[in-house]
């Protein structure tokens, strides 16, 4: 069997505040294979974002092991983690996080700038990815000249631009209306099916999770359900 993209064993994350401490992740063990499309579901505070941040090397676990594409990344230096984020990971956030007063094209070029890719190649590839998500016509617009749906598509283009092993999206439709949400999820589905991009989407909406091939449900920092597709009963048991 091929090496899984993500392989985590007994992942724990605690937050200390004074006397008490919060358990955000409580022994998570799972694998994500290449080409999978995973939704991470669960109620608010169940540890979904914490999990995604650790998988995305934005945060470190308190204990447990993490292998990314077979490499042990549990205890890498800050710089090494930045380099892996730059080359192997793509991020999409709920609040788009585009640079202000900067064109869509330049926003998409940013990860390539940090990966040290030349300007002509950056330009070409950024335009290409904008075309893939269908917003090449607003390439020169800055974020305040775009709709939320357009901004999120630009953010998706930015996450794709270094051909990452894994694209991580935290509530990518959280700030969008039903129609735009649907379009965004269709783009993810298409990217997964046509390009084989491995995708992990964090959401608490069953309608969004339904697009995924596999739904992992969290509760109190633990995986309580892991199914090949969204099972309504599972979601109902956690109160959604």
């Amino acid at each position: 069997m091929a090496t899984p993209i993500v392989d985590v064993r007994n992942l724990c994350k605690y937050y200390e505040h004074g006397e008490s401490s919060t358990v955000a992740l409580d022994g998570v063990t799972l694998q994500i294979e290449a080409g999978d499309f995973v939704a991470v579901a669960g109620p608010s505070g169940s540890g979904k974002s914490t999990f995604m941040h650790i998988i995305g090397l934005l945060d470190e676990p308190s204990s447990g092991q993490y292998f990314l594409e077979g490499q042990d990344v549990s205890s890498l230096s800050d710089d090494a983690r930045a380099d892996i984020r730059s080359r192997r990971l793509g991020f999409v956030f709920q609040s788009y996080n585009l640079l202000a007063r900067t064109s869509a094209l330049e926003n998409v070029e940013l990860p390539m700038l940090y990966a040290g890719i030349g300007s002509a190649e950056r330009h070409r590839q950024a335009l290409e990815e904008l075309r893939v998500v269908g917003v090449e016509d607003v390439a020169s617009h800055s974020s305040n000249q775009m709709s939320g749906g357009q901004q999120q598509r630009v953010a998706i283009a930015r996450s794709l631009v270094n051909n990452p092993a894994l694209v991580l999206a935290d509530e990518p439709t959280g700030a969008l209306d039903t129609k735009s949400s649907k379009e965004i999820m269709q783009i993810f589905t298409r990217l997964n099916e046509e390009r084989g991009v491995t995708i992990l989407v964090v959401t608490h909406e069953p309608s969004v999770a339904a697009y995924a091939k596999r739904v992992i449900t969290f509760r109190d920092g633990r995986v309580i359900a892991d199914g090949s597709h969204a099972k309504t009963e599972d979601l109902e048991t956690v109160g959604l």
């Binding site: 930045a82 984020r85 730059s86 996080n97």
Partner: protein, 404 residues
């Protein structure tokens, strides 16, 4: 790449970048202008003293003491010098010429015109000592001195004001303190002194005439001007005059001399060192304003780091190393301060021209100060930019992204 990132970020916020630079611009401009004022004053004192002649000594009554570069004189405090002292000095070897001098303010009247001016009673050697030739007519002679003749020589400004119709003043009568003097010559124009005095606003008469007919003080003169043959022997001559006059005035140590001999080069050095201290002081004050400008940069950069926390988080998320964030922010503040320094130099040059034109103050800008102030501005940028830049680079990506 860092420079590009920094420039893009600065251009994205033009107004703020400009306002941030303002402190440095003003600081550097202030340094340039103050240094130019100081250096200009020093240069003009120097030229003025050079114009008097580096081979000139001045003997005045009273004692003179040098204290920490400042000259204190007891000028006019006592009357001790006589024309005979002058004659004695003139007989020393190495002395080219001596002229006693007596000065007073007078109201000069010629027909319907009158003019308030400075009168000097001097000897015929005066034109030689000052290097100030006659323009028209002639200077008075030794005979005029002996007879205390009622003759005078006019500076250009006096001639112009007493005879505004342009007629030749020679042969005309000028009345001063009720005494009529015949004009026998005019001096060539000498222009302004380094400190803006009109040197042509002067009337010269024989010192005997001034003493006997105008001041009534017939024994003592106010000053003896001595011109040496060779500027190199000036300090030797200074000693000889000290010895000679001490003898003539019967001064026995430990009594203090009742006169003092000053070498113009010494006075020049004292004046210019006082100028240099002033200049440094002014430049210091200006440099403080530059540091204040630097603190302004630090303030804005700190605000900018907080404001751009999410941006920093995003940059980190898409792969920027912490060191790159540090370099980007540091470069931003260095660019701001250096650009501010360059604009400040331009503002300083314009300001210098303005002050020179408006205040009629001589200004010179030593070129090394331009380089020094721009370098200093850049350093200010490095120094005050480091802390905010470090703060930006220490932000943990996850917290930066969560920041509201």
């Amino acid at each position: 790449m860092t420079l590009r990132l920094a420039l893009t970020a600065l251009l994205r916020n033009r107004t703020r970048s400009l306002l941030t630079m303002l402190g440095v611009i003003i600081g550097v401009a202030a340094v340039i202008v103050t240094v130019a004022i100081g250096a200009g004053a020093r240069a003009s004192i120097q030229t003025q003293i050079n114009a008097l002649g580096s081979n000139m000594l001045v003997v005045i009554p009273g004692s003179i003491t040098m204290q920490g570069g400042a000259v204190r004189t007891g000028f006019g405090g006592s009357s001790t010098l006589t024309p005979a002292d002058g004659l004695a000095i003139a007989s020393l070897p190495g002395v080219a010429a001596v002229s006693p001098a007596v000065g007073l303010r007078v109201q000069a009247v010629a027909g319907a015109n009158n003019w308030q001016t400075q009168l000097s009673g001097v000897a015929p050697t005066y034109t030689f000592i000052r290097g100030w030739p006659i323009d028209k007519g002639m200077f008075f002679s030794q005979n005029d001195v002996i007879s205390a003749a009622k003759v005078c020589v006019l500076g250009q400004t006096v001639a112009r004001n007493l005879f505004p119709d342009g007629s030749s003043p020679i042969g005309k009568t000028v009345i001063m303190r009720g005494v009529p003097f015949i004009v026998i010559g005019t001096l060539t124009p000498k222009g302004q002194s380094g400190l803006g005095q009109d040197q042509d606003d002067a009337i010269l008469v024989p010192y005997t005439s001034a003493m006997q007919r105008l001041t009534g003080q017939t024994t003592y003169v106010q000053m003896l001007m001595v011109s040496a043959n060779d500027p190199k022997q000036i300090s030797m001559l200074e000693n000889e005059i000290n010895v000679l006059l001490a003898q003539r005035h019967r001064i026995v140590p430990p009594a203090q001399n009742d006169f003092s001999v000053s070498n113009l080069a010494d006075i020049a050095a004292a004046a210019s060192s006082t100028g240099a201290v002033m200049e440094l002081l002014l430049a210091g004050v200006a440099a403080v304003s530059l540091v204040v400008g630097g603190i302004g940069i630090m303030n804005i950069m700190l605000v900018s780091v907080t404001e751009r926390t999410r941006e920093i988080g995003l940059r980190r998320a898409v792969g920027a190393r912490a060191g790159l964030i540090l370099r980007q922010f540091l470069t931003e503040s260095i660019v701001l301060s250096t650009l501010g320094g360059l604009l400040g130099v331009i503002a300083g040059l314009v300001g210098t021209q303005l002050v020179a034109a408006l205040a009629k103050w001589p200004m010179t800008i030593p070129p090394e100060w331009i380089i020094i102030s721009v370098l200093f501005a850049s350093l200010v940028g490095v120094f005050f930019g480091y802390y905010p830049a470090r703060k930006a680079s220490m932000l943990r990506p996850i917290e930066a992204l969560r920041f509201e």
